[in-house]
Structures are given as C-alpha cells and as structure tokens.
C-alpha cells in the first residue's frame, strides 16, 4: 500500500524544519494553498526561504506567513500587491530578503530543478538590472544569460482532485506553478478538494503524475483569499 494520504493539514506539514526552502503554488489567490499555509504558520517553522510568484494579499494565507515573521527570504517575480502592506514593510525594514526573478525564468528554474537540469540559458532579462552578475553567452549571434535551477525541501500545492497514487488534476488557471513545483521539491504536499481511489482519474488527463507527490490531504472546501480579505479576516 502506498501511504500518501494524511488525515489533516497539520500532520502533512509537521516536519517542515527551520531554514527549509518551501515552494508555494498559486498566482495571486488562484491556486494558493491557504489551508496548508495556515497549518505551516501554526506549526511554527521559521527562517524559511519561500519560492512563490507573489507575496500574498491582505493578512491571510501567504501574506500571513510573512506577517508572522517566518520568511527570511522570498524568491518571486511580483512582490507588489494593491492590498497588502505586509511584505513592503518587512522589506523596507530589512527583515526579509528578496530575490527578484522574471516570471518565466522563475518557472523555468523550478522546472529545471525538477528535471535534473542544473542550469540553462535564457534571453529574458539580457541587458537589464536582473542580468547583473550573470554569465552572458552568445548562441547564433544572440546574447543569453545563464540561470540556475531551483529546488525545495517542500512544496505546498492546491489541486482539484488527487488519487491514492498522488496523481493530481487542477482547477482552471489555479494550475499555474503547481505541476512544476511538485517536480522540484523533495516532499510535495497537495491539498485537494476531492481525494479519490486510484483509477478514478483518467490516465490521459492526469496533470501531475503521482511520482511527484509525496503527501495528499483533503481540504474539501478551501477558503478563497479574496473572500477572507473582504470579510476582514487575518491569520492567526
């Protein structure tokens, strides 16, 4: 028997350690695994390096993890948000390090980490401040920069359904970083709205094959960040 199912989000994140690198899926609220993030806040791990496209909104989910002072460094493409002052305040106070990387380079670095590719060349950011200090190399007369793979100790992902083998399908644009972060982490933890027996997901439609998923936990009715914020919620 495969033992991928966890009874609740708390047990699923129990061994996240201080200093861990944690990838967090989502693009804005779409695909953000809020319940896993809140469980991580409860769990208490600190000095985390977080890899995620954004830094969260309001004071729930990812923004709440920052607010709780658990993030030492964030690797992301777009840390600005219209409705959160959490990250800007930490950043200006020098309490959180930022590694800014273009969104496509972020995605490709994560995929490379999952695919055993330590580095690759990309045309993105050539000649800009984000290329400073990076090796430039010419292929067919055009300059490219060398970028390095990203890997993580844990990935927190949100799915629509997952089966006992860890196969995952997603909901619409909530797919975003989920499949590639699942590839790049030692331990990938998926919160899924439905957990089903092996065989219920058509093998032609699996998006993340179970080999990339170590833990699955059912969160049948996940909160939506925008609704929590509208209701004035904070966490914890």
């Amino acid at each position: 028997m495969l033992q991928k199912f966890y009874p609740n989000v708390h047990e699923a994140v129990a061994d996240v350690f201080n200093g861990a690198v944690v990838m967090v899926g989502g693009f804005g609220e779409s695909g953000s695994p809020i319940e896993l993030i809140h469980a991580l806040i409860d769990q208490g791990a600190r000095d985390l390096t977080v890899v995620s496209n954004n830094c969260g909104s309001g004071e729930v989910g990812l923004a709440a993890l920052f607010k709780a002072g658990r993030v030492r460094k964030i690797i992301c493409s777009f840390p600005r948000t219209a409705n959160s002052t959490v990250f800007p305040e930490l950043y200006r106070a020098g309490k959180c390090e930022l590694e800014l990387t273009p969104q496509g380079t972020l995605a490709e670095r994560i995929r490379a980490g999952g695919a055993g590719i330590p580095g690759f060349y990309t045309p993105t950011a050539v000649g800009t401040p984000l290329a400073e200090g990076k090796e430039v190399r010419t292929f067919n007369g055009r300059p490219y920069i060398l970028e390095h793979a990203l890997r993580a100790d844990f990935a927190l992902i949100k799915g629509r359904a997952a089966d006992t083998h860890g196969n995952v399908v997603y909901n619409k644009t909530a797919r975003n970083f989920g499949p590639i972060m699942a590839m790049a982490a030692e331990i990938t933890i998926v919160q899924a709205q439905r957990v089903v027996p092996a065989g219920e997901i058509d093998p032609e439609t699996v998006v993340t094959p179970g080999i990339f998923v170590q833990r699955v936990v059912e969160v049948a009715l996940p909160a939506h960040e925008s609704e929590l914020i509208k209701a004035g919620a904070t966490y914890p």
Binding site: V126, L130, P179
Partner: protein, 218 residues
C-alpha cells in the same frame, strides 16, 4: 501642449487603433491597463486568440456578475472566462509559449521607450519602491512583435519616447510599434518613424513632445 492631448485619441480609441493592427489568427498577450481594452475592439471577422501568462489560451471576457470563478483569472488577477477551444497549462509551458516565439503580439504599457527599441516599464527607479517585474521581461524577450500603448508623456509632461532610457530596462531593442494619444510610431533601424497621426495632431505637435528625432510618414 494640453491642446494636443485633448485633440488626440481617447484610451478607447488607442485600444481600437491597436486592434486594427492585429491580424486574423493571431495569438496575443495583452498587458494590464489600456491593453486590456483591446480585445473588445477586434473586428468581428477576425479570430484573435488571447494568451494569459498565468496559464490559459483562449481567454474570454470577464464573467457576468456572480458567475466567475476566483481560480479563473488573467495576469492582472481579474476574473475572466474561457472560450470554446481554450486550454489550460502550467507556468513553464506558458512561458515556453512566450520565450519560444509562439505568441504573435504582446501589447505592453511603458514608462520609457528609446528610439532603438529599448523598453523600460517595470521600475520607476525610486529607492524605496518594491521591485516587481512579473512577466514583462519574458514577453519582451520572446514575443514576435512587441507593441507599446502609453500616454505620450508622463503626468508632469516629460517625454516617454526618448533618445536613451534613464529608467531600468525591461528589454533591449524589443519594441516594434508605439501607440499614444497623439500618434502611431514605429521603431525602425533609423529610429522613431511616424505611422499615423491622431485627428487634430501635427507632426510638429508630436515632435515637440518626443525626446528623440521623429521621422515623417514614409
């Protein structure tokens, strides 16, 4: 100077003017702001397919009130819909489309555009600003044609079309065409070249508000 602006195109007219330049069958990525308006002006006899870098092709208009899904959004994080023929995919595949040259047109905003095609649109360079780049550099680097839609000048009247960008670059030599409230201007090997003037605007009006030489309509 204010006269020129008031006689020029509105935001909607600028968007409409861009829409005229998008050929049938194009795959298009629209930035946030004025570019978002373009989709509603594409002529009905053209099929244009919209890509949003957060993982969908075949994006449709915003949903009717109460019909949306908070997990079906565009790159500006607003709710959208999926048209028949749409497809969802992950971020690495989405940026493979961008970086790999599969998108025909990207329409972006700008802080500055230089006459060699350099674009600055991600950082105001202010020391306390939170730097944020998103997908702009990827779009510049990979999309076949990069169009910029922008006001001709900054709020305090400084030209956005310049000889050399003073703000941090988004990409080098990437802009193909610029649409402002005053004119449509191409970036050519010889520099800025006027393509079309808005009603009531003259070449001199535009040149006065442009920070680099402007070649006449060819």
């Amino acid at each position: 100077m204010t006269k020129a602006a008031s006689n020029g195109w509105t935001r909607e007219q600028m968007a409409q003017r861009v829409a005229m330049d998008i050929p049938n069958g194009s795959y298009v990525n629209l930035g946030i702001g004025i570019p978002e308006l373009i989709a509603s002006f594409v002529p009905e006899d053209r099929t244009v397919i919209y890509h949003t870098e957060n993982g969908m092709i075949g994006m449709g208009p915003p949903p009717a009130a109460g019909q949306g899904d908070p997990e079906l959004i565009n790159a500006g994080k607003r709710q959208v819909t999926a048209l028949p023929g749409a497809a969802y995919f992950h971020h690495a595949d989405s940026f493979a489309m961008i970086r790999g040259g599969h998108i025909d047109v990207s329409v972006l905003g700008a802080l500055q555009v230089a006459h060699n095609g350099d674009l600055a649109n991600w950082s105001t360079g202010e020391p306390d600003a939170i730097p944020a780049v998103g997908g702009a550099m990827d779009l510049c680097a990979g999309v076949k044609r990069v169009y910029v839609v922008t006001t001709h000048c900054t709020k305090d009247g400084q030209p956005k079309l310049v000889a050399t960008c003073t703000l941090p670059l988004t990409g080098q030599g990437v802009v193909d065409r610029i649409y402002t409230e005053m004119a449509v201007i191409d970036v050519t090997p010889e520099g800025f070249r006027l393509v079309e003037l808005a009603p009531g605007i003259t070449l001199d009006d535009v040149q006065q508000r442009t920070g680099a030489p402007l070649l006449p309509i060819m």
